[in-house]
C-alpha cells in the first residue's frame, strides 16, 4: 500500500498574525480538505504537532481539537516538529489502521520571546541556570564549523542572501545581499541577524490517504527520524549525524535511492544547509529551497510540515519533477531530525 498526499493547506508564514491559533489552523485545515475534496466526516484520525512551551499553555493540542475536526476521533499529538506528525500519520495509514489521516502543525512565534523560551527546553540542572538557549547552541555549532573553514561565513552569507531573494515575494522579510548579511549585527557569533530565518506565525495541514502505488498524485515514500544526545558535548557538533541516520532509515523504507529533483530542508540558519547537504550526500543537481525555504518565515513546529507542503507543490508543478525530500528538525542544534521522501506517481 502507498500513502498519497491528497491535500495540503497553509496559513502564513505571517508576521504577528492578529488571529488566534485556532483561526490560523482552521484556514490551513479547510484548504487541505478542500484540495482533497473531503469533508471532516471522511477523516478517520488526526495527528497534530504543537509545543506547550511555545503556546503558553499546557496540552496545546486541546486548543485546536475542534478546528482540526478531532472531536470524537482518534487524535495523536506530537510535541516535536510537524514532519514527525506526518511520519506518524503515514505509519497509521501504512499499517492499515486508517484510510484518511489529517496532519496539522502550528506555530505562533509572535506569542512570546521565542529564543528566550527555548531556554526552558534545555536541561534544568546544567544548562538553564547559565541562561543558554537554542540560539546560543546554534552559535556554538556554527563556530565549530567556521573555526577550520575560513570561507564559511562568506558562504553562509551568500546562502542566506540567495534564500532571502527567492523568498522576498511571498516571505515576511525583504530581499537582502550577502554584504547586508555580513554587515548585520552578530546575534550569537558567528551567526548574524540576517543569516537567521525570520520568525513567523502560521499553520500547515496535509491530508494523507491510502492509495494504490500507481495512483496519480504525490506519494509519501520512505520516512525516518532520529534523536541525538541532548548535551552538545556528547555529540559530534560539526555534523548532523542524526540526520544521516534518519536518512538511512528513510532510504531503507523506500527501498531505492531516488534521484532527488528538489530538497526542502528546515534550515533556520544558513550554516545548517552545509550540514543538511553533507548528511544526505546531496547530488549537485538537486535544487535546494527554490522558494527560499524557511527564509520566507520560520514558523516553529510547523516548519518541517511546511517543507513537506513545499515539496508537494513542486512535484505537482509544471516542471515535471519526480522526487523530492522534506526535512524537519527540533531541539538544540539539530538534536531531533526527521526526513521524508516524496514522489510523483
Amino acid at each position: 500500500m502507498s500513502v498519497a498526499v491528497a491535500g495540503v493547506g497553509e496559513s502564513g508564514p505571517a508576521l504577528d498574525d492578529p488571529r488566534s491559533i485556532p483561526e490560523i489552523v482552521l484556514e490551513a485545515v479547510e484548504e487541505a480538505l478542500q484540495e482533497a475534496r473531503l469533508g471532516f466526516d471522511s477523516v478517520d484520525a488526526v495527528v497534530t504537532a504543537s509545543v506547550d512551551l511555545l503556546d503558553g499553555l499546557t496540552a496545546s493540542n486541546i486548543a485546536v481539537t475542534e478546528v482540526v475536526g478531532a472531536v470524537l476521533k482518534p487524535e495523536t499529538r506530537i510535541a516535536a516538529d510537524g514532519l514527525v506528525a506526518a511520519i506518524h500519520g503515514s505509519c497509521l495509514v501504512r499499517a492499515g489502521a486508517y484510510e484518511t489521516v489529517l496532519v496539522v502543525a502550528h506555530g505562533k512565534a509572535s506569542l512570546g520571546p521565542y529564543w528566550e523560551l527555548t531556554s526552558w527546553a534545555l536541561d534544568p540542572i546544567f544548562l538553564q541556570p547559565l541562561g543558554l538557549d537554542f540560539l546560543a547552541c546554534a552559535g556554538l555549532q556554527a563556530r565549530a564549523l567556521a573555526e577550520d573553514d575560513a570561507a564559511a561565513e562568506q558562504r553562509w552569507a551568500r546562502i542566506a542572501a540567495e534564500r532571502r531573494r527567492a523568498a522576498a515575494a511571498h516571505g515576511v522579510a525583504p530581499a537582502c545581499t550577502a554584504e547586508d548579511v555580513l554587515a548585520s549585527p552578530a546575534v550569537a557569533s558567528p551567526l548574524r541577524r540576517e543569516s537567521c530565518a525570520p520568525l513567523a506565525d502560521g499553520a500547515t495541514a496535509i491530508v494523507l490517504r491510502a492509495a494504490g502505488p500507481a495512483e496519480p498524485g504525490v506519494h509519501l515514500g520512505g520516512v525516518g527520524f532520529d534523536l541525538s544526545p541532548h548535551a552538545l558535548g556528547e555529540r559530534e557538533l560539526t555534523e548532523w549525524d542524526g540526520l544521516r541516520r534518519a536518512w538511512a532509515r528513510a532510504l531503507a523504507v523506500h527501498g531505492t535511492r531516488p534521484t532527488l529533483d528538489v530538497a526542502e530542508p528546515s534550515c533556520v540558519f544558513a550554516y545548517e544547509e552545509d550540514l543538511f547537504r553533507h548528511a544526505l550526500e546531496l547530488d549537485p543537481g538537486t535544487e535546494v529551497s527554490p522558494g527560499g525555504g524557511l527564509f520566507a518565515g520560520f514558523v516553529p513546529v510547523a516548519a518541517g510540515l511546511s517543507r513537506l507542503a513545499a515539496v508537494v507543490r513542486a512535484l505537482r508543478g509544471p516542471g515535471g519533477l519526480r522526487a523530492g525530500v522534506a526535512h524537519g528538525t527540533w531541539g538544540p542544534a539539530g538534536q531531533g531530525q526527521a526526513v521524508a521522501i516524496l514522489e510523483a506517481a
Binding site: 544548562l127 541556570p129 547559565l130 546560543a136 577550520d148 550569537a188 552538545l232 556528547e234
Partner: protein
C-alpha cells in the same frame, strides 16, 4: 485584541544522586568530577549514570580543572559561552567563558575558575578562562 499574560511556576528540580555528588564536590571542594563507565571506559562530564554503551557509569573520577575549548559563541550583552572538554573526560559541556571573545579560538587551553562564594548549582563554577 492582544491580552498580556505570563507564567511563573516554581519547581524543585532533583539533580539526582550522581549530579548531586558532582555539585557537592564543586561547592565544597572546588573540584570537577566525571563518571567513568567500567564497561567501556568512557568518562562523562558532567557525570551521568547512564553510559551510551548501556552500562552504568558508576565510578566518579576527578577531571580538569584544565581543559580544551571545543567551540564558543558570543551573544551581545550576554557574554560568551564555550563548549569545554575537561582533561580526563571524553565529553564536553557548555559553560561561561570569562575572557574577551577576541582572544578565543577553538582548540585552545582553558582553565576552570570556581566562584568565590558557592551555594550549590552549576554557577558555583564561574566559568572557564584562557590558560596562561
Amino acid at each position: 485584541m492582544i491580552l498580556e499574560g505570563s507564567v511563573r511556576l516554581p519547581f524543585r528540580y532533583a539533580a539526582g544522586t550522581t549530579a548531586s555528588t558532582f555539585l557537592e564536590a564543586l561547592r565544597d571542594e572546588g573540584r570537577l568530577l566525571g563518571s567513568r563507565c567500567p564497561a567501556c571506559g568512557t568518562v562523562l562530564c558532567p557525570p551521568r549514570l547512564d553510559c551510551r554503551c548501556g552500562e552504568r557509569a558508576t565510578e566518579l573520577v576527578e577531571v580538569g580543572p584544565a581543559g580544551t575549548l571545543v567551540s564558543w559563541t558570543e551573544l551581545p550583552g550576554r557574554g560568551a559561552y564555550g563548549l569545554v572538554r575537561p582533561d580526563g573526560a571524553d565529553t564536553a559541556f557548555v559553560h561561561r567563558l570569562l575572557d574577551a571573545p577576541e582572544s578565543l579560538r577553538g582548540g585552545m587551553r582553558v582553565h576552570a575558575r570556581f566562584a568565590e562564594e558557592r551555594s550549590g548549582g552549576i554557577a558555583d563554577l564561574a566559568g572557564f578562562e584562557v590558560a596562561s
